[in-house]
Amino acid sequence: MTSVHVSDIEPQDVLIVLRHPPHGSHWLREGIDVALVAAAFGQRVGLLFQGDGVYALLEGQQSGALGQKGTHPQLAMLEMYDIDSLWVSAAALSERGLSVDELMLPVKPLSAEAVAELIQAQPHTLIF
């Protein structure tokens, strides 16, 4: 898996870091809601999937028992909101035995150094 270079990172207005897995809590859903609203307000929004947040990107997710919605329908809406700067921690993926080919969206894997540079480069960052 080749990680992108730091120089390839286009600056955004807002970076949302997603660290929680889907379904078990509302963190991920509420974080993506902030991303969608910020984009609707005309901000350039980037997303970084880190830690257990990478599980949000697995293919084949479904609604849970009792109709509990997942976050995959929200992620499918990102393109409509022009949110196309999607990054993932390469370390988080490999620790979980996952590769970018298994993911539902085209995300760019970042080395640890690039994760730090990404967060340094963005004017506003929220972690969920």
């Binding site: 809590s25 509302h26 849970g64 028992a65």
Partner: protein
């Protein structure tokens, strides 16, 4: 047939705990067992809120718990100490605290931790769902 009790620690719409508990409760009662009581503790007390207003396409947790009471007589016990500080009050408690509104109504009952101890000692099974 076994007598079950549940202990729910998780707030609604924040963690899966309350959904998992309601789902398990449905399985208990439709499998011929008796679900005697559900005790709501910690942030689980928010499950009892009569003001809960989820979007129409999402499960309404408080109504789910109420249905268990109506159909199977399950007691819905809300820890009063955990509830009062978090803003869960019956009409009686609202009066006592000089408040004009309340948000806990029958079949939910505010009660003491003794009822949890009782549920643990006097049922065949106590299953906990935490956030």
């Amino acid at each position: 047939m076994l007598n079950y009790a549940l202990l729910v620690h998780g707030a609604p719409y924040s963690h899966q705990a309350a959904l998992s508990a309601l789902r398990f409760a449905d399985t208990v009662v439709t499998s011929g067992h008796r679900l005697v009581s559900v005790f709501f503790y910690h942030d689980g007390v928010h499950n009892a809120s009569a003001l809960m207003s989820p979007p129409q396409d999402e499960v309404h947790l408080a109504e789910g718990w109420q249905r268990l009471h109506q159909d199977y007589g399950t007691q819905l016990l809300v820890c009063i100490a955990a509830g009062l500080r978090r803003g869960l009050l019956s009409a009686d408690e609202a009066n006592r605290h000089g408040l004009a509104s309340h948000n806990v109504e029958a079949p939910f009952e505010l009660t003491g931790i003794g009822q949890l101890v009782d549920a643990m000692l006097n049922n065949d099974r106590l299953i906990t769902f935490a956030p």
